[in-house]
Amino acid sequence: MRRRIISVLLENEAGALSRVVGLFAQRNYNIETLNVAPTDDETLSRLTLTTLATDEQVEQITKQLNKLIEVVKLANLTDGDHLERELMLIKLKATGPQRDEIKRTSDIFRAQVVDVTQNAYTIQLTGTSGKLDAFLRAMSDSTVLEMVRSGVSGLSRGEKVLSI
């Protein structure tokens, strides 16, 4: 089982996303993260999902996805060199000496404090999922009030593109 990043160009139509999600549920594949938004060509959405799968499973997943009528094209980004980014917004309890500590750790991770109150910091961090996980571990002494992650987005490195 390895983590795979699958990138899908999807017709930007009502119901298309539910078919992708439904396929995963129906065929007993897992989805770790999922994100989707329209592209520069507004008739197309680009969807990125990560899943844990064996080589055989990922072959089935990509074949089954390709069978969906609204899937225009897809690529398994983890097949080659790729860039991946995830965005996290996290609201931490920040009082007393904690405030400096959180700020210092954020700087080390090149995270930004994007909102402040007397008792809380809201921090924004982008990077690989691994980097986000490491930040969370580094903050394990702080109290997380709430947090949200965007799920992974990615592109192939170099001149390889996923387009129609």
Partner: protein, 602 residues
């Protein structure tokens, strides 16, 4: 300004009509647009059931006579009829249902078609656009509910979308790996007072849907080279060859090569079953010779088949000596359950033609050694065949009818030329094993989903398409009662189906498993209070016969098939202790591990 005179208004109205005629653009309501679109697709029959959300559509249907609508007694019946129609003709079946309960009642039939890749277009009514999502009367999320069991679906939001959606629905249903497509239409979209220009598109192209049109020629060459060098070759073909119209080419390829061939339950008839090279059906209830030849072969050519668990038995023990060539239109079917050494994605008909062409050239150059090895392989196969695994055990002098004898008698009475629609259970397996089909599209059965209640309505779909042919429904006392209401539809449309009910007073297949795996504890598998079927069908205006002794079987069947214009129901009491054999030993068995008869294993 003076008001316009009446004649002036008329004149303007006339001008407008004229203008549209010049441009050949007609103004039609959504309901009329739908019906016209279906006419443009060449639809001749629709199976359906009306209700509030489709009333506009039914009114549009009423105003024309190019399409005949068959009013069923249950929406499930309508879907199976359309399915049987499609399986027997190769043309897509069309269904109309209303929203809510109409739509949900159609689901079993849609799933049945989906599992067997049958082309169908299902038009369902939906609540008014402005009411969708409000839990309005008879609202159900049809696109959502059907999503896992359709090839694709559309929810239309305005009438102008109808022609293109219908064009796409038929295109998607009938190309690539075929399947059912749902078109969900809210009631306001078909409103008779809102008119829209109607033009039906001549062609359709979809950037995201381009099924393969031919196989990879390099792979095909490689496959032929492997086939020509095989020592113990085997051909295994499935429903894809029937649905993909590849039977003729499969037959000539098999004959050219001189190889043994087996068909799946779905693929029966793709190769003439009375031919010497045919080893019978394979799989869970396949023949001794077919399953053994599969197990021992060294090159397996799989065409339009999907290595279903009912075929392979334990996958880890499947074809241990074989290199596998797999031809299929659906790339996802290849290497899904069993890894293919030579995958070929393409329409079976096109690929088979290419295989034939290359094989013909190659066979001429086959060495003597290869010919000798092939005949040695045939000797081994003939040895398995001599086991005569389908021999019927009859007790000397007994009048009790064995279910297998019924099928043999039906075969004789119909000269092997009938369309046979089957239900699901022991009787289905007996029909598959004891009625050899020499032509494709004659054997109509729910293989993938195994839907009891499929047989009668499916037979009705076939009979609608072929009014003059002999259409038989082989059913069980359990299955027939799952859609028995359609006897009334048969009466309304004069469908002279012959229903052969193999009555073992039980859910025989369930009972068999209980005998074999639960020490004979027949938990809820006895059917004690079935009606007197012969009398029941008479009340619908049909003919009913009951048979209890083997001595009467042939005579009654002869009379049955002589009543050309009547629906005849033959209720045949059979030995209720009979089991269907051969049968895989499972779990964890290989294909050659079989029960041959009660208590006798390989």
């Amino acid at each position: 300004m003076p008001a316009r005179s009446v004649s002036e208004v008329d004149f303007i109205g006339f001008r407008i009509i004229q203008k549209f005629q010049v441009n050949k653009v007609e103004m039609l309501s959504g309901g009329d647009i739908l019906i016209r679109s279906l006419q443009e697709e060449g639809v001749e029959h629709i199976f359906g059931y009306p209700g509030g959300a489709v009333l506009h559509i039914y009114d549009a249907l009423f105003k024309q006579n190019r399409i005949q609508h068959i009013l069923t007694r249950h929406e499930q019946g309508a879907t199976h009829m359309a399915d049987g129609y499609a399986r027997s003709t190769g043309r897509p079946g069309v269904v109309f249902v209303t929203s809510g309960p109409g739509a949900t009642n159609a689901i079993t039939g849609i799933a049945t078609a989906y599992m067997d890749s049958i082309p169908m277009v299902i038009v369902s009514g939906q609540a008014h656009t402005h009411l969708i999502g409000t839990d309005s009367f008879q609202e159900t999320d049809m696109v959502g509910i059907s999503r896992p069991v359709v090839k694709h679906s559309f929810l239309l939001k305005n009438a102008e979308e109808i022609p293109e959606a219908i064009k796409k629905a038929f295109y998607i249903a009938t190309t690539g790996r075929k399947g059912p497509v749902v078109v969900d239409i809210p009631k306001d979209v078909t409103n008779p007072t809102d008119l829209f220009p109607f033009e039906y598109p001549e062609t359709v192209s979809m950037r995201s849907y381009n099924p393969a049109s031919k196989g990879h020629s390099g792979q095909i060459k490689k496959a032929v080279a492997m086939l020509l060098e095989a020592e113990r070759p085997m051909i295994y073909s499935g429903g894809g060859v029937v649905q993909g119209n590849g039977s003729e080419d499969l037959t000539s390829l098999t004959r050219t090569l001189g190889f043994p061939i087996t068909n799946t339950l779905m693929g029966l008839g793709a190769y003439p079953a009375t031919d010497k090279q045919f080893l019978g059906m394979l799989g869970m209830h396949g023949t001794f010779e077919a399953n053994n030849a599969m197990h021992h072969c060294d090159i397996l050519l799989a065409i339009g088949a999907r290595f279903d668990d009912r075929v392979t038995n334990a996958v880890s023990k499947f074809c241990p000596y074989a290199k596998i060539i797999h031809v299929d239109i659906d790339p996802a079917s290849i290497s899904k359950n069993v890894v293919a050494d030579v995958p070929i994605v393409g329409p079976v008909e096109v690929v088979l033609k290419e295989l034939c062409r290359l094989a013909e050239a190659g066979v001429a150059k086959r060495s003597e050694k290869q010919t000798a090895m092939l005949s040695e392989w045939w000797d081994q196969i003939e040895g398995w065949r001599r086991q005569d695994c389908l021999k019927i055990d009859v007790d000397e002098g007994s009048k009790v009818i064995k279910p297998q004898q019924v099928i043999e008698a039906v075969y004789k009475a119909t000269k092997g030329e009938a369309y046979i629609a089957s239900d699901v259970g022991q009787h289905q397996m007996f029909a598959a094993l004891y009625y050899p089909f020499d032509q494709p599209r004659r054997w109509i059965n729910s293989g993938g989903l195994g839907t009891m209640g499929f047989g009668l309505p499916a037979a009705m779909g076939v009979q609608t398409a072929f009014p003059d042919e002999t259409v038989v429904c082989i059913t069980g006392d359990g299955s027939i009662q799952m859609n028995i209401q359609e006897l009334s539809t048969c009466a309304q449309y004069g469908l002279p189906i012959k229903i052969i009910c193999i009555n073992n007073r039980s859910l025989g297949m369930v009972r068999q498993w209980q005998d074999m795996q639960y020490e004979g504890r027949h938990s809820n598998s006895d059917l004690d209070s079935s009606p007197n079927f012969a009398k029941l069908v008479e009340s619908y205006g049909h003919v009913g016969f009951s048979v209890t002794s083997i001595d009467d079987l042939d005579v009654v069947l002869e009379e049955t098939f002589s009543l050309k214009n009547k629906l005849v129901f033959v209720d045949i009491a059979v030995d209720s202790n009979e089991h269907t054999y051969p049968m895989f030993v499972s779990p964890n068995g290989s294909m050659r591990d079989m029960w041959i008869k009660k208590g006798v294993r390989t």
